[in-house]
């Protein structure tokens, strides 16, 4: 997903001379490509996130579309005020590419995990928050970034994640994708997912199907603006809604879904379970999958939560 994203920046730059690229002391191989493929329009800046976001704003004010690329937690936390004021208040077409969203950097500990990035980016007016599920979808998404007016936060996953997205389902910023639809079974569950939890949830859905539990899976690649229409359409007829995110349960996808459902299904709310990272810093290292398992956002954990939710509902 990371190479797909960066490749696309270079491709877009070839197509559109407004595209510029700013790294923040990140990825040595990119430096070389930058210099050869978009000379004069790409820079590897230092470890200075605040400056880099301000600089991107300045470029955007001059008519450019800068892609700023560094580690997710630093591009959201370290320069939060610059993102708020320079990008969102000015509503500039800067794209922030955040490497290693969620638990990707598990072995590097809590300073490197981006667990509240979606929450804090969503809290800002004018910000768009996108977390695609694989490299193919990344390409489809990136093609649309040229014409999107305001700032976008692009949350990258680990990379080399299995491809589950399908070209025939299309892609539109702000439009949720139905990745699977429950057949007319008795117990109907809606899974709402984003990023690579979509992949995990698809696996869970298979396991559940084997148990006779029908699930619809709504892939919310765009967490902001949220596709409320799709959500309400699918949630209305469900026995249970389960949201799954590789993110703290405070203020992320799950909260966005609740906000929308309560507003639109007031009085007729199905039960909703929000799966994610508990409101705590990581206490373990290891790898992303180990932490996902610890937090129950791996396929087995998701399936178990669905079964548990249906049991409670029945009781």
């Amino acid at each position: 997903m990371r190479p797909a994203c960066v490749d696309k920046v270079f491709e877009l730059a070839r197509r559109d001379e407004r595209v510029t690229y700013i790294g923040s002391d990140l990825d040595p191989p990119i430096v070389k490509r930058m210099k050869s493929e978009m000379p004069g329009r790409a820079w590897m800046e230092g470890v200075s996130e605040q400056h880099v976001v301000g600089m991107a704003a300045g470029l955007a004010m001059e008519g450019f579309i800068p892609f700023v690329h560094t580690i997710a937690t630093f591009i959201t936390r370290r320069c939060y005020e610059q993102v708020a004021v320079d990008l969102c208040l000015h509503n500039l077409p800067v794209r922030l590419i955040g490497n290693g969203g969620g638990l990707v950097y598990a072995p590097l500990g809590p300073t490197h995990l981006a667990i509240e990035d979606i929450a804090i980016m969503r809290a800002l007016p004018n910000m768009t928050v996108v977390s695609v599920c694989d490299a193919d979808e990344m390409k489809r998404f990136m093609d649309q970034t040229l014409d999107w007016p305001g700032p976008i936060y692009i949350r990258l996953a680990k990379g080399y994640d299995p491809i589950v997205s399908r070209a025939e389902l299309g892609f539109k910023i702000g439009k949720a994708i139905v990745m699977r639809e429950a057949a007319g079974g008795k117990k109907r569950v809606l899974l709402v997912t984003t990023g690579v939890t979509t992949t995990r949830a698809l696996e869970a859905a298979e396991a559940l199907e084997a148990d006779g539990i029908e699930t619809t899976l709504l892939h919310m690649h765009t967490v902001k603006p949220l596709d409320t229409a799709a959500l309400v359409e699918h949630a209305g007829s469900c026995d249970l809604v389960v949201t799954v995110e590789e993110h703290t349960i405070v203020g992320g996808l799950g909260s966005a879904v609740l906000d929308a459902l309560v507003e639109h299904l007031s009085g007729a709310m199905p039960p909703v379970k929000r799966l994610g990272i508990p409101d705590d810093f990581a206490h373990k290292y290891g790898n992303q999958d180990q932490l996902m398992e610890l937090y129950g956002i791996h396929p087995q954990g998701i399936a178990d939560s669905v079964r548990d939710g249906l049991r409670r509902r029945a009781a």
Binding site: H51, M55, M61, E62, H90
Partner: protein, 303 residues
Amino acid sequence: NLIERGNGRTLWRQTSGGFLMANDVALGAQHDATRQLDERSIELRRLVVRALDGGARGHIGSSMSLIEIMRVLYDDILRYRADAPDWEGRDRCILSKGHGCIAQYVMLAEKGFFPLAALDTFCRRDSILGGHPEAGKVPGVEASTGALGHGLPIGVGRAMGLRIKNNNARVFVITGDGEINEGSVWEAALSASKHGLANLTWLVDYNKVQSAGPTDEILPLEPLADKLRAFGFAVAEVDGHDIAALRRVLRSVPLDRERPTGIICHTVKGKGIAFAENDAAWHHKSSINKELVGQLYGALETR
């Protein structure tokens, strides 16, 4: 004429025009308090008071120290078209110390970017003129500032953008002195220097007072010129209320064809209002009544 400094470390070069030039070395220009403000400077300050009156609040000291800097920029240095604020050939003037905005509003109104009467609406609900300047709302304002330490990074981005476009417009960023406590300013300075942005000029309104007191007490900045120089700027120092000296130094920008320029403007916070000068208590007043307005006008008459 090169003059060696006390400790034998730095040298400075006195120019004919009352400011100090330094491609590599400079120190020492201070404000000359005996010089009188001319009528135009007083009139511009009256307009500042008009806005303070309109909003019944505002950053008094912060605006007054900026007047001559903004006046010379808009009178003599900047290229712009008041009737086409987004004209691509304009120089980009970013007031990073956004809380001093009245000084900029006054110049913009005077030059016809918007009517002078707008000053009377300062800070009011439906005004275009807020307590900090907003791009898109105020014609001639290049960036929404108010949060300190944002102007120089944005200025670097603009200067890079102009370079790509082969646009020879220049970027001027004006910061306060307290403002440059912010690390973001130094991050940007490193980058400006790396890119050799000769189209970027950073002016420091060095009035030696920040919000809570004198910079020397709150967070000392000396040796300030050494800091800018160590961060890769060609530096000049100037009396920031001396019109002729400001003109001369700003006309000589860039000081170096391969480096960004830094101009340390020695100013007086509250300049022109005797009772407010050099006093942090007059940094900002959240309530300005008619009596105070009268005193402010009165103070200007005695200059």
